[in-house]
């Protein structure tokens, strides 16, 4: 298991290299003079030259790339002139909100989705199975940011039960925090639980048709033990795969949903930076979110090894 973990950590290095290279090159794609955007309308030619020198834009691309990697290794993602602070600080300060939103919705989507899927597979070919699968298909066709707006209109504007947006830190007021998180978390979860439900169902149906399940039933084992101990445990690997894919979708979904619900996470930081053309923040936000996702994928692979001992020695 330790060897597998080390192998998996090492294999993340080329991925992180490409991620940082792409993030670096995105700045280079920006058409026109980027310094004019950073300096604003009333910046003089001397100001622009100063900004250009401080950002190193007067140097050739390869030299800028070397500087970028040098700074990166020291955890320095650059400086935002518009926020007047370091990019690393600005992004890391916003990260907990995004992570808790994505985490809560991942938990909700996994639990509800797996329950729906198990139910559908156990009651295979009944109205329950069919309606669960129709719900799942409709759920995964709904654009999550739009569903968030519908939720705001329904629960916030019409019923007035929940706030239409805004955020209360957990440390200040736990009830207010829960009230500000419940709609965005459910919005994200509902659109993704369908994917988990469908995968759970088909994986469970596969396993439940195996001989050892029939044997377990034949020897009089209680249905619950058959389904959970022998069925679900062996059906977990495809489910873990989808959970891994979904964690990425939820992470990027959280970025968009934050804008809908006015939550102060990395997403709103990035979107605000796009409107202000604050490119260092866009780069930093993108890079750190991608690193989180790479880390999540390592966790998912460890979960594989946990559920399928065969994979452990291959590393």
């Amino acid at each position: 298991m330790i060897r597998f973990l080390i192998y998996r950590l090492l294999s993340a290095i080329p991925v992180l290299f490409v991620v940082s290279l792409v993030t670096f090159l995105i700045m280079w794609l920006v058409p026109g003079d980027i310094t004019a955007e950073i300096g604003g309308i009333d910046a003089s030619a001397a100001d622009l030259q100063a900004i250009r020198e401080r950002l190193g834009l007067d140097r050739p691309l390869w030299e800028r790339a070397i500087n970028w990697y040098g700074d990166l290794l020291q955890g320095d993602l650059g400086y935002s002139y518009l926020l007047n602070r370091s990019v690393t600080d600005a992004v890391l300060e916003r990260l907990p909100v995004t992570l808790s939103l994505a985490g809560i919705s991942l938990l909700l989507a996994t639990v509800i989705g797996m329950l729906l899927g198990i139910l559908a597979s156990v009651r295979h070919n009944t109205w329950l199975d069919q309606s669960a699968m129709i719900t799942a298909l409709v759920g995964l066709s709904i654009p999550d940011f739009w569903f968030g707006i519908v939720m705001i209109i329904f629960f916030g504007v019409w019923l007035g039960w929940l706030p239409t947006g805004g955020f209360v830190p957990l440390s200040e007021d736990p009830v207010g925090w829960a009230r500000s998180m419940v709609l965005p978390a459910f919005t994200l979860a509902i659109t993704q639980m369908g994917v988990i439900a469908r995968m759970t169902r088909s994986s469970m149906l596969d396993v439940l048709s195996q001989d050892y399940i029939r044997t377990a039933r034949a020897k009089g084992m209680p249905a619950r033990t058959v389904i959970f101990r022998h069925g679900l445990r062996n059906a977990m690997i495809p489910i873990v795969t989808v959970v891994g894919v979904i964690s990425g979708v939820l992470l990027s979904g959280a970025v968009v949903i934050e804008t809908v619900f006015s939550l102060p996470g990395v997403g709103r930081l990035i979107i605000g930076a796009i409107q202000r053309r604050d490119f260092p923040i866009i780069q930093g936000g993108l890079l750190i979110t991608a690193c989180v996702f790479v880390f999540v994928n390592i966790l998912v692979d460890l979960a594989y090894a946990w559920f399928d001992p065969r994979g452990r020695d291959d590393g």
Partner: protein, 303 residues
Amino acid sequence: MTAEAATDSFSIGREIALARRRRKLVFLRRLFLHPSFLAGFIILTIFSLTALMADVIAPYEPTNLNYRSILAPPSAEFWFGTDAFGRDVLSRVIYGTRVSLRIGIAVVVLTGILGTLLGTLASYVKWLDGLIMRSLDGLMAFPGVLLAIALAAALGPSETNAIIALTVTFTPRTARIVRASVIVVQGMQFIEAAHAVGAGHARIIFKYILANSLSPLIVQLTFVFAVSIVAEAVLSFLGVGPPPPAPSLGNIIADGRSNIQEAWWIAVFPGLIIAVVVLGLNLMGDGLRDILDPRHSASRETR
């Protein structure tokens, strides 16, 4: 003798052509008798026709300002109501569907070409495999549509840039799928036979390998179509898609977000349209997968 041989090979050729046509017909029959494919196909046809004939169907100009009817709720005159500039939401949604489908088709075509190219290169040229696959892994490390958002933001808001950003985001997974199925076909005996009788690389790649690894690609591209319609809406909702006066579905939802307190209809209708179109595409994809790729079908147990 020559005349006899010629008629013989001619009739054999005709037999093969007939058999091929018969197989194609059987396939199409199975496809259109599949309930979810049929449902999805009908949904998509209706919306495509509406989008194509937008000029005839839309009751008003999508960018026509009408200050006498600002934020009017749905009525007989304005079925989907009007927005803060008095523009007819129904007309804007119809033109927006056209924009969405146009971008979706462009992304599907480009992703299909690029994905096939990279996937085939990776599996056919050994020394390129590692380089291509590691680069694609790197691109796939950006969660969801985040890369598309950043790319579109850097390139600037326009329809073309949205297409570029989405293609870059969806190509890696497609290339991976192509590579996986090409590798399987490559190992089959008839490819070895083709090499043995001296078929060239181009002929082997196009005529034998690609023709036999199309199924997973077609299924994948149906889902790329669905995802890119949602992703385009996200881009324009965030202001990095086609710029505002253009009636893109995401733009209309963004307008609705700013008038959320007094006019629910602006945001609700365009989103419903996206959901129905994407549902149609997902249904088609499920049906195609059932028939083309029985191993991975969701309903294989109900056969």
